[in-house]
């Protein structure tokens, strides 16, 4: 085991060139970074069988808990667990302090941006963000204009995707302000890690994340009207066939609130009620895990059966709170993203603590020609799409793919942005019984209600295929536990 680990370190150390990815565990000279030292020693002391046994334990934990997704076949369907890696990713205290400050700053500014866009639109008047970019975005909801949102907290739950660049600095790749998911994996990974690495865990000084459901509940309660002293909170799920259903049930259970589907709710006189065994019961706050389009067939998509007819009117009337607010998507739009540093300085008068990735807006003719000339080096994304759809990864695409994409791009440049291909940092993973680095990103979760709350942890997504930069679980991605160390902890104790 020791040799395999040493090889991995050597490998990472030996291939340093200009764009070599940042290795989370090993520095360029081949030395294990101090915050990884204890874990590296612990792993080196375990035999292959030990590691394999721990990996089995981990997978069994996920299977038993039902943290699975279903693969439908012709004859039968089988359940698979989301691949989970045994080795935690470790973030030292001072790096986390920067990340946390940056996330708080960013979400404060984005909430202010949303409040402005849906009221006076000062930022558009001042020409900081192009008017048509915001008002023309498909995620812009005219219905939200001048609607009162408590604490101006539009995005109550935010999951931002961060990456670590080759120079070691973190940058924001994407903000998710609609219905971000993945927090249950953060919590489940931690629960599993405590079973598989109990000793190392205790000694490393890892900060707690188990308070997340409590913080989420406090955040949601803080959104209820003052005159409803004991607000009824519910989680609204599209149902058991949704791929994130486990997460919806998990959060409802840990918060101790009902998990409802659209058919459990009814509106009457602009109030929302849920059907209980003893009759109707008033609902105050809905943590909805259903997209904007589907929450109310009377206001948004008519063919939706997932939502509740009349919900939006009840919301407009101030009788129920929908979290996240409808229309938050306009602030995580891929084109608006390019303006976030300006948005931060416009509202807060501060420089962004966490930088953006350099972004070319194809709607600008000069930038479009640059993008077209450099398609083989860039990642091009459709503005409205998510989940890796409508995307071209230049360096990995064939000439034909690039040419047909260039046509689509030239035909409708407003719809695209481009970014340089970033080498995500790598972290050690257990692959087929050996320790080998794989590319990772980082998705922390930020809550905003009466105040902004950050949980010291995150979901680390892993591209399990060697060399791959795609961390989406639909495309061979997995996840691993993320340890944020407390201040004064170097992780350098005997495990």
């Amino acid at each position: 085991m020791r040799y395999a680990l040493a090889d991995a370190m050597q490998g990472a150390g030996a291939t340093v060139h200009a764009e070599a990815p940042y290795d989370e565990m090993v520095d360029p000279s081949g030395e294990v970074r101090p915050h990884y030292a204890a874990l590296a020693r612990r792993v080196a002391s375990l035999s292959d069988e030990d590691l394999a046994e721990r990996q089995r334990l981990l997978e069994r934990f996920f299977l038993l808990q039902g943290i699975t997704f279903t693969v439908y076949g012709a004859e039968s369907s089988t359940e698979r667990i989301i691949p989970t890696d045994l080795l935690p990713r470790i973030i030292p205290a001072e790096e986390w302090a920067t990340i946390e400050a940056g996330l708080v700053q960013r979400l404060r500014a984005l909430n202010m941006f949303l409040a402005d866009v849906y009221s006076d639109q000062k930022i558009l008047m001042d020409g900081v963000v192009p008017r048509e970019l915001v008002l023309g975005a498909p995620s812009y909801r005219r219905e939200m204009q001048d609607l009162f949102v408590p604490h101006q907290a539009y995005a109550n739950v935010c999951g931002s995707d961060l990456i670590r660049k080759p120079d070691g600095g973190f940058a924001v790749l994407e903000d998710n302000l609609r219905v971000p998911s993945g927090v249950s994996y953060m919590l489940a990974n931690r629960e599993a890690a405590k079973r598989t690495f109990p000793g190392s865990f205790r000694l490393a000084g890892v900060r707690r994340i188990e308070q997340y459901p409590d913080l989420l509940l406090s955040t949601l309660r803080s959104m209820a009207a003052d005159w409803r002293p004991n607000p009824q909170v519910v989680v609204l799920t599209p149902g058991v066939y949704n791929s994130a259903y486990f997460e919806h049930a998990y959060l409802a259970r840990l918060m101790g609130v009902p998990l409802v589907e659209g058919r459990d709710l009814v509106t009457h006189d602009n109030m929302v009620y849920m059907r209980t065994t003893t009759g109707l019961r008033r609902v105050d706050v809905i943590y909805r895990r259903v997209d904007d389009d589907f929450i109310d067939p009377l206001t948004f998509r008519r063919d939706s059966s997932l939502g509740v007819a009349g919900l939006f009117n009840a919301y407009r009337g101030g009788n129920v709170v929908i979290c996240n607010a409808p229309g938050t998507g306009v602030a995580d739009d891929k084109a608006v993203y390019a303006y976030v540093p300006e948005i931060i300085s416009y509202y807060l008068g501060e420089d962004a603590i966490l930088p953006n990735i350099e972004t070319y807006l194809c709607r600008e003719p000069s930038q479009l020609s640059h993008v077209l000339a450099n398609l083989d080096k860039l990642v091009v994304k459709a503005v409205g799409a998510s989940g890796g759809y409508g995307m071209l990864v230049g360096p990995h695409a064939s000439r034909a793919e690039r040419e047909s994409f260039a046509e689509a791009l030239s035909a409708n440049p407003d719809n695209y942005i481009a970014q340089p291909t970033i080498q995500l940092s790598t972290a050690p993973c257990l692959i087929d019984g050996a320790v080998d680095p794989r590319h990772v990103d980082l998705r922390p979760f930020i809550l905003s209600g009466d105040k902004i709350r950050v949980t010291p942890g995150a979901l680390t997504r892993v591209a399990l295929r060697k060399g791959s930069l795609v961390v989406n679980s639909s495309q061979g991605g997995g996840s691993k536990d993320t340890w944020v160390l407390g201040a004064g902890e170097q992780g350098d104790h005997a495990p």
Binding site: L64, Y245, A249, Y250, E261, M271, T277, T278, G279, L280
Partner: protein, 314 residues
């Protein structure tokens, strides 16, 4: 306070879990008692087939094929696997209402019976396979009893268990002694098998010794106060849990299903069990099956699919 949909799912979990356990026992007894070719083995096979189907041709086959069909027919049919899959699907829909301990037990059973190794395990050692499922289901019930709050959700789970159980025992009684089906069981081995199918052999022996007679068996399965599968016991539990969950429902003066449950309970509590004729027993069993069906519908109408007009806030 509990969501109507959740109450419905918990009720169905109770029903399916009980059904799965019962069908395991039927398959096991069927396989065991048809090992030798005697008159009694024919009676047992006939009894099992009529207890689980109304002359379904799927079961008019060799005892082995019938046992396979009972245990692991595709998820469409009425089989152990199908019942467990449905119980687990319902549990997934109310995952937030079950304790982790309870969920894990059910999930584990499901993963095992639907796993790739299950068909081989069954054909290698069917008795062991079925026995393990029963034991696991007992663990599930134990975990639920020990970790879930015994409140409203528990009440619906138990209602499902006991309504299903009353119907299963009723059907078994009809299959064994019902005149309408002709040829009641008479063979000693067949009567023992009947007791085994309702998990009653040992409690029966303790009460009546090895004096195995149709009259006493019938009396035991219908009127025994303490045996958890007797009609008297199950109807008393139905009444108990129904009045528990119905406590907070305001029906505006209309009679709820509690009245039905109370009357059903009283039929057994005050019956003249010792002098009841075979014909009257048949009638009583038929009544139980009918009233259970009405209770089932009544629970759905009163707690789950009630009309909103009745319950709108004033």
């Amino acid at each position: 306070m509990m969501l109507a949909r959740v109450a419905d799912s918990l009720y169905w979990i109770g029903r399916y879990v009980e059904r799965a356990e019962h069908m395991c026992r039927l398959a096991d007894v069927l396989l065991n008692s048809t090992l030798d070719r005697t008159e009694s083995s024919g009676q047992v096979a006939r009894m099992v087939v009529s207890a689980i189907s109304d002359g379904d041709p799927r079961f008019e086959v060799s005892p082995w094929d019938a046992a396979v069909a009972i245990t692991m027919d595709s998820e469409e049919g009425d089989s152990v696997t199908a019942a467990l899959a449905r119980a687990r699907e319902n549990a997934r829909q109310v995952r937030d209402q079950l304790t982790t301990e309870t969920w894990e037990r059910l999930n584990l059973i499901y993963l095992r019976v639907t796993g790739p190794a299950a068909p081989r395990e069954f054909s290698d050692a069917p008795s062991q396979f079925l026995h393990d499922i029963i034991a696991d289901l007992h663990l599930f019930k134990g975990a639920a009893d020990a970790t879930m709050s015994h409140g409203e959700g528990w009440g619906f789970l138990q209602l499902g268990v006991f309504i299903e159980r009353a119907q299963l025992t009723g059907r078994l009684l009809q299959a064994g002694f019902g005149r309408s089906l002709g040829r009641p069981v008479t063979e000693h081995a067949a009567m023992t098998a009947l007791l085994r199918m309702s998990c009653a052999l040992e409690p029966y022996l303790r009460k009546h010794t090895a004096d195995i007679q149709p009259r006493l068996i019938r009396q035991f399965l219908m009127f025994d106060e303490d045996f958890p599968r007797s009609l008297r016991f199950t109807t008393a539990r139905i009444e108990e849990h129904l009045s528990g969950v119905g406590r907070n429902v305001d029906l505006g003066g209309a009679a709820g299903p509690e009245r039905l449950a109370g009357r059903l309970k009283a039929r057994f509590q005050y019956a003249e069990a010792e002098t009841l004729t075979a014909e009257d027993s048949d009638l009583l069993v038929a009544t139980v099956l009918e009233e259970c069906a009405r209770l089932h519908a009544g629970i759905y109408e009163n707690f789950v699919a009630y009309s909103l007009e009745m319950r709108l806030p004033a």
